[in-house]
Assembly symmetry: C2
Homo-oligomer: 335 residues x 2
DNA sequence: TTGTACGCGTTATCAA
DNA sequence: TTGATAACGCGTACAA
C-alpha cells in the first residue's frame, strides 16, 4: 500500500504538501496540485484511515447493537431492516459503523463489554430492542459510558436518546379496532411479552386503558415474545375466551396455528407488521412500523448527540393494518 | 481517554514498560507489574486499537459483503445467519469485521469501491451469494485486490477461496427424491434462478443429469429467485405439467400458493431449507444447508488465506429434508 | 529488568 | 506557496 511518503517522493514535494492538496487546501499552485494528483493516482494512493483518526484525534465510530438471542424469525427480518437503515445513513454522514450481536457479549461482564467497545474506538451506540434481561447494556446506558440511542426502549438522559412508537397508544388502537370488527366480545385474552419488560408494560397499559373504557373481562398471560409459548397459552386458555390480543406478530401466528389445531375460531391481532405474517395467509390486524425508517431516525439522533445536544425521546408514527401475502411478494419482487 | 503515557506517569515508569506489562512480557519484576496494572485499572486504560494497528503495521479487517438487493425474506433469514457465524469466528480470532450490504455500493464504480474498502483498511472480503449482475465485485475478486472468500459462488484463484455445497448434486438429489415419492411423472417444470447465473447453471446441470437418467420431459423457466415471478410462471405452465422443481424455497412457496389459487395439485420441491418454509405448512422436499456453519467455515478459510495459503474450493454437506413448522418453532423457542 | 528513541501514516503549526 | 517538524498512541529494537 502506497503511503503519503511515496506520493511525496514521486511528486517531488513534501508530504505536508501532499496532505494539503488531497485535503483540498486552496493555497497550492496549480502546478504542484497537478503533480501531486498525478502521482497519487498512479500509485493508487488511499489515505490510511487509522492514521487519519490518530492524527486528527477523531475516533467517531458507531456501534450497532442488535439483540439476536431469541425471537429468531422476528429478529431476522426486523434486524436486517434496522441494519440497512443504519448503513444508509452512516454512508451519508461518513461515519464508520460496527455491527454487534448481543450474543457476542453473553459471557462478558459490563466492564469487559465497555473495555471491548472502547478499544474499538466506539463512542456511540445504537441499541435495538434492548431487553430487560440485558443487564450489561442497561448499565452501560445508565452510567452514560457512551452516547446511546435506544430503539424501542425508552431510557433518556444527557447522553441517551430513544426512538420508538407510542406502544401504549398502538396497543390500544389495534385492540380497539379488532374489537370493533367483532361483536359480543366479553372475555379477552392478552398475550403479553416478557414479564417486567419495559415495552411489555407499556403495551399492557394500553390494553388496560381499553378495558377501563369498554369493560370486558381481561385475562393476561406472558408469552415471552415466543411463538411456542404463545401456542401453549392458547391450548390452556382459548376455550373460554372470545378474542386474543397478542403483543407480537410471532405470538399471534403461534396463537392462530394453535387455534386451528384446536379446530376453534377466535379473532386474533398482532403487533409489528412483519412480512412473515403474510405467509400465514391469515388476515389479522397488526401495528405496522417502518423499521428501516426508525433506524435512520435513530442514526440522525446519534449525530445530534455527537454534536453535543441533550438526549431526548422521539416518537415515530405507526399504522394499524393487515398484512397481505400478495402485497408482500409484490413489494419485494424484482419485477 | 487515558493513554499509555498517562498510565506510565501514574505508575512512575516508562511507557515501554507499561506496554510490556500489558502485553504479557515476562521480563518484568512483580513490583513494577503490580504498579502498572494498578495504574491501568484506576485510569480505566484501554489501548487505542488504531494506534496499535498503525504501530504493528497490521491492518487486518475483514469486510462482510451481504447481497441484500433482492430475495427479501430469503436473504433476511440467511443473511442474519451468515452474520452470526462470521461474528462468532471474528471474536475467536480477534479479527475486526465490518459489515456491508451491496446496496451501499450501487452507485459506485469498481475503483471507487476498492478505494473505499482500502481506506477502511480492509484486506479481506467474505462475499455471500455474489450474484452475476454484481460486476463490481466480480472484478474485485478476479483482479485479486483483496483476499476473498466466496460463499456459494465458485471462483478460486491465488487469493480467493470458495465455500459452498455441491449445487449440482444437491439439485439432482432433491429432484430425484421428489420424483421417487410420486408416480407417473412425465413432464417436469424446472423453475431456475437467474439466467446465466453461476449457481443457476450448476443446478441446471443437476436437473439435466437427472433428465438424462430418467428420460422425462423437461421445461425450464427462469424465476430469477423471485417469488412473484415463480408464481406467474406457474399460472402459465402448470396445467400441462406433472411436477415442479424449484431452485429456491422462496420460488417454491410462490409456486405452491399459485397452484392453490388455480385449485390444482402438483408436487413441488424447493432449495435452501429456510425457516419460512415451515410457516407455509406445506411439507415439501428441500435442500437444507447450515448457513451459520458455512459462514464460520468461510471465516476459517479467510484466516488461511491471510496466512499466505493458496486459494481453494471447499465443499460443505447438505441434507435433503422437509421443513416442519413445529420443528422450527421448537428449535427457536426460548423454553 | 528498565528506559530511550524511533517508526507507523497522517494532520497541523509555523517558519521560510 | 511550500517544507520541516511535532504531535497522535502504541510497539519494539537496542542501549543502559
Amino acid at each position: 500500500m502506497a503511503s503519503i511518503n511515496d506520493v511525496a517522493k514521486k511528486a517531488g514535494v513534501a508530504k505536508s504538501t501532499v496532505s494539503k492538496v488531497l485535503n483540498g487546501y486552496r493555497m497550492v499552485s496549480d502546478e504542484t496540485r497537478e503533480k501531486v494528483e498525478k502521482a497519487a493516482k498512479e500509485l493508487g494512493y488511499v489515505p490510511n484511515s487509522f492514521a487519519v483518526s490518530l492524527s486528527k484525534k477523531e475516533f467517531n465510530r458507531i456501534g450497532l447493537i442488535v439483540d439476536i438471542r431469541h425471537n429468531r424469525q422476528f429478529v431476522d427480518e426486523i434486524g436486517m431492516q434496522y441494519l440497512t437503515g443504519a448503513f444508509e445513513r452512516s454512508k451519508v454522514y461518513q461515519m464508520e459503523t460496527v455491527t454487534f450481536f448481543t450474543s457476542q457479549f453473553d459471557d462478558m461482564s459490563a466492564d469487559q463489554v465497555i473495555a471491548y467497545l472502547k478499544s474499538q474506538q466506539i463512542n456511540g451506540l445504537i441499541i435495538y430492542n434492548l431487553s430487560i434481561e440485558n443487564q450489561n447494556f442497561y448499565q452501560i446506558v445508565k452510567e452514560q459510558f457512551f452516547f446511546c440511542v435506544l430503539v424501542d426502549s425508552a431510557i433518556t438522559n444527557q447522553k441517551t436518546s430513544s426512538v420508538s412508537i407510542d406502544h401504549e397508544a398502538a396497543q390500544y388502537d389495534v385492540a380497539k379496532q379488532t374489537l370493533a370488527e367483532n361483536f359480543y366480545i366479553q372475555k379477552i385474552l392478552y398475550i403479553a411479552g416478557g414479564k417486567g419488560g419495559y415495552i411489555t408494560n407499556l403495551r399492557l397499559k394500553g390494553i388496560r386503558k381499553l378495558q377501563k373504557e369498554m369493560g370486558f373481562r381481561l385475562t393476561i398471560a406472558y408469552g415471552d415474545f415466543d411463538e411456542y409459548t404463545a401456542r401453549n397459552i392458547i391450548f390452556e386458555y382459548a376455550k373460554n375466551i372470545d378474542i386474543i390480543i397478542c403483543a407480537s406478530d410471532l405470538m399471534a401466528i403461534g396463537a392462530v396455528n394453535a387455534l386451528k389445531e384446536m379446530d376453534i375460531f377466535r379473532p386474533v391481532c398482532g403487533f409489528d407488521g412483519i412480512a412473515l405474517m403474510g405467509y400465514t395467509k391469515i388476515l389479522m390486524n397488526t401495528v405496522k412500523q417502518d423499521f428501516k425508517e426508525k433506524s435512520m431516525k435513530a442514526f440522525d439522533e446519534m449525530k445530534r448527540l455527537l454534536e453535543g445536544k441533550h438526549g431526548r425521546h422521539l416518537e415515530i408514527p405507526y399504522e394499524i393494518c393487515k398484512i397481505d401475502y400478495m402485497d408482500i411478494i409484490k413489494k419485494y419482487s424484482r419485477q
